[in-house]
């Protein structure tokens, strides 16, 4: 395990050194990603400017959700490129090289790329998050700090799991993968507002199947000390982010199954 971790960080170092050879391009892309999401938030701000609130949530409260989910995704996007771009790897046959090395396939793919340009996106997510936390005057307790960290970690696990599932699909088809964007980018769009505003089936889907609400909405309720119109308890709100971890563990099992399929068909 320690050895694997050391190797992972070596992979990361290699990836960063490679990208820094194109420094100007990396700086430009980071700024671009930051700016793209700033305009996105301007649109949200404009809606609050006109309507005041959504489902009883104010702009800073929604900004907490927005900042949380964007930070989660930005981190995942930064460390999950190996899975996200897995279709090109299967098409080119480079996955065979991964299998030819005496290390876990997941470790090799996770280490494949540490995408620096996502720092722009991460900076935007964190900036919104910090602004929200300052504007909200949350009464921090050790429990809340722990919950906050757990929520970010749970969200990263969940999104990472989605990328692993998306990569697993590549063993069967490399077409139509765009449909996975429904869960990643669609999830991002969904989770920036409280799920209580959505229709029940939709809500259930993002709580029980792809448990995005468990890493954003429920912990946010606990942080804000808001009562849940859906009736969740405080204990549930604290435990909910674990669903992200469970999702990742299940995804990794699915991945193993996919690799076995690949080894028997060699597609």
């Amino acid at each position: 395990m320690r050895n694997a971790l050391v190797l992972y960080f070596q992979y990361v170092g290699v990836s960063i050194r490679g990208q820094l050879q194109y420094r100007a391009s990396f700086v430009m892309q980071s700024i671009g990603e930051f700016w793209a999401h700033v305009t996105e938030f301007i649109a949200i701000w404009a809606l609050f400017h006109r309507f005041g609130s959504i489902g009883g949530w104010s702009l800073p409260e929604v900004a907490l959700l927005y900042g949380l989910v964007n930070t989660q995704w930005a981190i995942t996007d930064m460390i999950g490129r190996g899975f996200d771009a897995f279709d090109t790897m299967v098409k080119s046959g480079d996955f065979d090289r991964v299998l030819l090395r005496p290390r876990a396939t997941t470790l090799q793919l996770a280490g494949l790329e540490f995408t620096l340009r996502r720092l722009g996106r991460l900076a935007q997510g964190l900036a919104i998050l910090v602004w929200a936390l300052v504007a909200l005057n949350i009464l921090w307790t050790p429990g809340k700090v722990a919950l906050f960290v757990l929520a970010v970690a749970g969200g990263v696990c969940l999104f990472y799991g989605l990328l692993v599932v998306q990569a697993t699909l590549c063993f069967w088809t490399v077409e139509s993968l765009e449909i996975m964007n429904v869960f990643t980018y669609g999830g991002l769009e969904t989770a920036r507002y409280p799920v209580s505003i959505y229709r029940p089936n939709f809500r259930r889907f993002f709580t029980a199947v792809v448990p995005l609400a468990c890493v954003t909405y429920f912990p946010a309720l606990a942080l804000l000390g808001r009562a849940d119109p859906l009736g969740s308890t405080l204990v549930f709100q604290y435990a909910a982010p674990l669903a992200g971890l469970i999702f990742l563990l299940v995804s990794l099992q699915v991945w193993k199954f996919g690799v076995r399929h690949y080894q028997s068909t060699g597609s």
Partner: protein
């Protein structure tokens, strides 16, 4: 006209082959539309002050945006990018044609083919199931059709500029990365422009970007009456002309650079 038409139709036919991508894109767009519509319903339900646009109109506006999403010039087209990266751009210079219009034709195909594939199922689904209203009147429908054609030209003109910019690799990357988010925000693709703050409306009216989405969508809804179609088309076409002029100038600068550096 012949070479440009040939380029347009060749690219168009190539792009029509990406049916699986279109199907997946349709599914994604449908999902996004459903989410966005629900958020507007939530915004409107708790708010009693009169708004510049009714919820019904906003819902239709959203679905039009989802249906015509592939039209937007949000990045340099992949084939131009590839052309420049592989040095294939040198061959383009060898052809006895105006490179600007050649690239414009490419951009035009890149806008129309995926849009045709994706928008038709989206229109049908949204109209039957998801609250997209038909055009306010026959006249509104016609006005919308004309404005959409102009929107395609406008989008192609912007995409062509992004493409030309790629010749200055880093600065070109910067250009599109800074401008394309603005295109999305100021065209009405992110939120309907009438919902933007009142003080911003003057700027929005002058800028070219509303010609991409806001003008055709509101003509469709009758929010802009069909009688005003003339000034609207004039707005769009003036900007197409200005951007084409700018594109020509930019390309001539880029060519000089290519000749000097040898590609």
């Amino acid at each position: 006209m012949r070479p440009y038409w040939a380029m347009l139709s060749a690219r168009f036919r190539t792009l029509l082959q990406y049916r699986a991508a279109a199907l997946a894109g349709f599914g994604t767009q449908l999902f996004f539309g459903v989410v966005i519509v629900m958020t507007y319903q939530a915004f409107y339900s708790a708010n009693t002050t009169p708004q510049p646009m009714s919820l019904e109109h906003v819902v239709s506006y959203i679905w039009l945006g989802q249906a015509l999403f592939a039209l937007m010039p949000w990045a340099p087209d992949a084939d131009i990018r590839l052309l420049i990266r592989t040095g294939g751009v040198a061959y383009e210079l060898l052809r006895p044609v105006n490179v600007y219009w050649l690239w414009f034709s490419r951009a035009l195909a890149r806008r129309t083919a995926p849009t045709v594939l994706r928008s038709i199922p989206m229109f049908i689904t949204a109209m039957l199931l998801l609250g997209l209203q038909p055009p306010a009147s026959l006249a509104s429908g016609l006005a919308w059709g004309m404005a959409t054609v102009c929107a395609v030209l406008l989008a192609s003109a912007i995409a062509t500029i992004f493409g030309i910019g790629m010749i200055w690799t880093i600065s070109g990357e910067g250009l599109h990365r800074l401008v394309s988010p603005l295109v999305m925000l100021l065209s009405g693709m992110l939120i309907p422009l009438p919902l933007m703050p009142a003080w911003s409306q003057t700027f929005l009216r002058v800028l070219p970007f509303r010609g991409l989405a806001d003008i055709p969508f509101r003509l469709y809804l009758g929010d802009i009456p069909p009688s005003s179609v003339g000034p609207m088309l004039l707005h769009q076409l003036t900007w197409v002309a200005l951007l084409a002029l700018f594109g020509h100038w930019l390309l001539s600068r880029a060519m000089r650079r290519l000749v000097v550096q040898g590609g």
